[in-house]
């Protein structure tokens, strides 16, 4: 029983990162009906930005001046903003030219962008092909409770994710910009006729999505203590899978999809003998089965096709 509970915590943790990535996919799909395939790479880029900021802080001696609990949140926020701006930049350069083109073009262009981002990261770090050590920015303590081992950092990750999702919902539901995002996701043209500035709204969407993705990247790095330039490919595919399982375009779906994917992977690794190398296979098989029986995801609307 404790074993199951322990694995449940791991699954939740994995689900959190997938959810954060999947929210980005859903936001972009909602706003522009595009899949930003390099989103996973942008997320890992967030982790690398944090790494740079950390080294910079160390170099400038900021750690001596500022206490850790001030500098690290500051660093994460800075990384979120920087990655968000990068996301906006990528949208302008790679996605915007294809706004009225067949959707395949965007797909391929963003896949190519993913290659560019990955390679740029690999080349700009010394020994970039090897995993980079990520600083231990979260406290490393752990405690036992009812036979279950809790790592403090996993609780913090869980808390951060919940907080961010909550803030995002507040933003989407309560602010004017959030209303604009909801409006363009319902009907872009009608929204523009109502005086909504499409470009700024899309930029805001990409800012939020990429910033949340950056947090996912940072949390992955902080939990595993390493990051690799090519983690973004798998992260992106998993995040996309989570978004699709939950229902593409539906932000609530991202949470459900992320948790399902996290559960499948964790339990496949834990309870299927010899299953550890095959966790991704199980995850993808589940995704394919979901797509066969619920092609528009769990919360996705049923789309009726018209000629």
């Amino acid at each position: 029983m404790t074993e199951i509970f322990q694995q449940l915590i791991n699954a939740l943790l994995l689900g959190c990162t997938y959810t954060l990535i999947a929210i980005g996919f859903n936001l972009f799909f909602g706003a522009l009906n595009v899949v930003h395939f390099s989103h996973g790479d942008v997320c890992i880029l967030g982790a690398f930005v944090t790494l740079i900021l950390y080294s910079l802080g160390k170099f400038l001696g900021l750690f001596a001046i500022l206490p850790k609990f001030v500098y690290i949140p500051l660093m994460i926020i800075m990384a979120m903003v920087l990655t968000g701006l990068l996301g906006v930049f990528f949208e302008r350069v790679v996605i915007k030219p294809f706004r009225y083109a067949p959707l395949l073009m965007v797909l391929v262009a963003t896949v190519a962008l993913g290659i560019v981002v990955r390679e740029a990261v690999r080349l700009s770090f010394p020994h970039g092909s090897n995993p980079q050590i990520f600083p231990r920015i979260l406290p490393q303590k752990s405690f036992q409770w009812g036979g279950v081992l809790f790592r403090l950092d996993s609780l913090i990750i869980f808390g951060i994710t919940l907080f961010l999702i909550f803030m995002m919902f507040l933003f989407i539901k309560r602010t004017k910009m959030g209303a604009a995002i909801r409006a363009i996701s319902q009907d872009g043209e009608a929204a523009m006729m109502m005086g909504i500035n499409m470009d700024i709204t899309v930029a805001a969407t990409f800012l939020i999505g990429s910033a949340l993705g950056a947090v996912a990247g940072i949390l992955i790095g902080a939990y595993n203590n390493i990051i690799r330039f090519d983690m973004g490919l798998m992260g992106g595919v998993k995040g996309f899978s989570a978004a699709v399982v939950g229902g593409l375009g539906n932000v609530y779906g991202a949470i459900i999809g992320g948790l399902i994917l996290g559960m499948v992977e964790t339990f496949a690794a834990a309870f299927i003998p010899g299953g550890t190398p095959y966790t991704d296979v199980f995850a993808f098989l589940v995704v394919i089965f979901f797509l066969i029986f619920r092609p528009s995801g769990i919360l996705g609307e049923k789309v009726y096709e018209k000629v």
Binding site: V244, F284, V307
Partner: protein, 383 residues
């Protein structure tokens, strides 16, 4: 009078083709980066000139359509002489062989992506399945290359059928996710199974032999001693020719027309009594067959395969070849494959930046010419 004029035009056509061929050979032989860049800029400006100057464009197109057979024959003869041009540098012949392999993959994918508008990111999977099938058969059971090529094509087709079933339910992005997931599943399984050699792959795959002549020995032709890659060059030339023939015939048949109908509007096609499921599955199977055949040739040519050769990036490369060359244009697809194979190899000087340059090229080309280099042509049935 008339006779003299048409001879003159024929000479003009041959001259144009020979000039392009010489330029191509010179480009391939250019070693320094500066020269390569100069050639690339020259080709791009030539393309722009060709596009802007309507008169020249029309004249050349008219010339080539007028004497189609002559143009094709001259082209074939020139391609056949390539190994003689490159006999000092086997590496260039190797690039040509790889270009041919990718051309077949791209032609196969074109049935889906170009004709039917079914996104498929699992080309690497069928390519890998074909390569592993024939390699395992050859290493463990001494099955000949010439039999293995059909077996692996069939096995790859079976997997294509398997992939096609979930794909019938899904469209667009969902479909692309299914194919990406399938490709990754195959890749992960290849790494983790012990009977496929795991991450180490399969070494020592025997080369094929033809009439007692092993393909790993130098080829003697007309007193010239050509490097062993030339064997594969001629093999792949025949295969590309076959693939081209199949693709061309399919495109101009009922099947190609049906695929186009599905691309334009699936529901309308269904309303006209087209069995959409069957034709989509057919596209999947033919693509997988092409992939399997290509994989077989690759495995026996290189002699060593590992899962890395069939990673996700290979599928992306093939998809970009189809899009870049021009969807549903058989010749455009081949040119896209050749360009995207040769260009990265030319940038081998900075090995590390290869993929980066590749990605930048693809993004810029998509932004500036989203319809591809050679967009599809309207079907003309009667003049």
């Amino acid at each position: 009078m008339f006779q003299g004029k048409s001879v003159g035009r024929a000479l003009l056509l041959v001259g144009v083709e020979v000039i392009f061929f010489v330029l191509f050979v010179a480009f391939m032989l250019a070693h320094q980066l500066g020269k390569t860049m100069a050639f690339i800029i020259f080709f791009i400006s030539l393309g722009i000139l060709f596009k802007k100057w309507r008169g020249l464009n029309h004249a050349v197109v008219e010339l080539f359509t007028e004497m189609k057979i002559l143009a094709v024959v001259v082209f074939i003869v020139m391609v056949l002489t390539l190994p003689f041009m490159f006999q000092k540098s086997p590496y260039l012949i190797h690039i040509c062989v790889m270009a041919g392999l990718y051309a077949i993959l791209a032609l196969g994918l074109n049935f889906q992506l170009g004709s039917t508008n079914v996104v498929n990111f699992a080309t690497a999977a069928s390519y890998g399945i074909g390569a592993y099938t024939s390699a395992l058969l050859a290493v463990h059971f001494q099955v000949s290359f010439w039999i293995g090529i059909f077996i692996s094509g069939g096995v790859a087709s079976l997997f294509g059928l398997l992939l096609g079933i979930p794909c019938m339910k899904t469209k667009d992005y969902y479909l692309s996710l299914v194919t990406i997931a399938f490709g990754l599943i195959v890749y992960i399984l290849l790494i983790n199974f012990s009977w496929t050699g795991g991450p180490n792959g399969i070494p020592n795959i025997p080369p094929p032999s033809f009439l007692g002549h092993s393909f790993r020995e130098p080829l003697n032709l007309f007193g010239f001693n050509l490097p062993f890659q030339s064997n594969y060059f001629y093999l792949i030339f025949v295969l590309v020719g076959g693939a081209l023939f199949v693709a061309y015939r399919l495109h101009h048949s009922r099947v190609g027309l049906t695929w186009n109908a599905i691309r334009e509007d699936e529901i309308a096609a269904r309303c006209h009594g087209i069995d959409v499921t069957w034709y989509k599955i057919l596209a999947f199977c033919i693509d997988a067959f092409f992939g399997g055949v290509t994989g077989t040739v690759y495995a026996h040519y290189i002699g060593f395969i590992s899962p890395e050769n069939f990673a996700f990036i290979v599928s992306v490369v093939v998809v970009t070849m189809v899009i870049l060359g021009g969807m549903d244009n058989v010749f455009g697809v081949i040119i896209g494959a050749v360009i995207l194979t040769i260009l990265p190899e030319k940038f081998r000087a900075f090995e590390d930046f290869r993929l980066l340059v590749y990605g930048v090229i693809v993004v810029t080309m998509l932004v500036f010419r989203p319809q591809g280099l050679f967009p599809q042509k309207l079907r003309i049935y009667q003049r």
